[in-house]
């Protein structure tokens, strides 16, 4: 996995530009996350039905985490295949654990 080195200042500038574009995207992501959070809090505050709200809350949380992982933590970038695999491995074990403890303990 040889890393590309920016040989010339020109190329460095080019990459800098690219990163700038990406940074804009990050800010949009952030804005969305804030919005999701507000929606979540608002839904709870509005006193809607539990069974209706909880799934939505969980989905919103899931999306937010996806944003964090893929944009903020750059999991969408190249060279993250193994990290992604390992992280999902962890998430898989995590899911089973939560399921078991939440569902089986008081059965």
């Amino acid at each position: 996995m040889p890393e590309k080195v920016s040989e010339s200042p020109v190329q460095f500038e080019y990459e800098k530009q690219k990163r700038k574009e990406e940074m804009k995207q990050q800010v949009i992501t952030f804005a969305l996350m804030i919005i999701f959070t507000i929606i979540a809090f608002a839904m709870v505050a509005s006193g809607l039905d539990k069974l209706f709200v909880i799934p939505i809350l969980l989905v919103l949380a899931g999306i937010q985490v996806g944003f964090q992982l893929y944009y903020f933590m750059h999991m969408s970038h190249k060279g993250h295949e193994l990290p992604a695999m390992m992280f999902y491995g962890g998430a898989f074990a995590a899911f089973l654990t939560i399921l078991a403890l939440a569902a089986l303990v008081w059965w």
């Binding site: 590309k4 080195v5 990163r19 940074m23 809090f41 964090q68 933590m73 403890l101 939440a102």
Partner: protein
Amino acid sequence: MSEHDVLNPGQMPQNPEKATLEGKNKFMGFWFFLGGEAVLFASLFGTYLALNDSTNGGKSSEELFGLELVFIMTMLLLTSSLTSVYAMYHMKNNDFKKMQIWLGITVALGLGFLGFEIYEFYHYIHEYEFTLRSSAFGSAFYTLVGFHGGHVVFGLLWIVSLMIRNAKRGLNLYNAPKFYVASLYWHFIDVVWVFIFTVVYLMGVL
């Protein structure tokens, strides 16, 4: 080129955090570590979910939690996630000063979060006499949220010590991975918080 030299823009690799073998190892190892951390927090979440009704006649989540504080805390931590993205953005642009500034903001936001959390715990303990020993619910609440708080403390100490240590010598290929990894850690703390405010607080007051 020695790893110790401060880099000028022309020499900056595209991904300085992964430019050396040590950096690559650190990067990979840290991601794996986060996979393990996911299981760690899952175990805590699972325990919390199993026990969140076990108030043993004491205070329940509906009676305790207020959403305003949590909302502010959430905003602080979410924003600090963005500011640390900015820090890494400037790291890649080889702009050490700006990186330090953004990291500084991140730390400030993190401290704010922490302050609110301490206030919250203090409040529960003194106003409601709700402690680790009140009930199984109390145990589970303080352990889960406290574990997260502990991560915040550790993350802050880590970032601050990196900032101080490298303040004079600037960015190089030896410390770039360290900064990068610390920022990953910070994001992960935010990931966990997303679940905490959703599962513990929002679902707790429903």
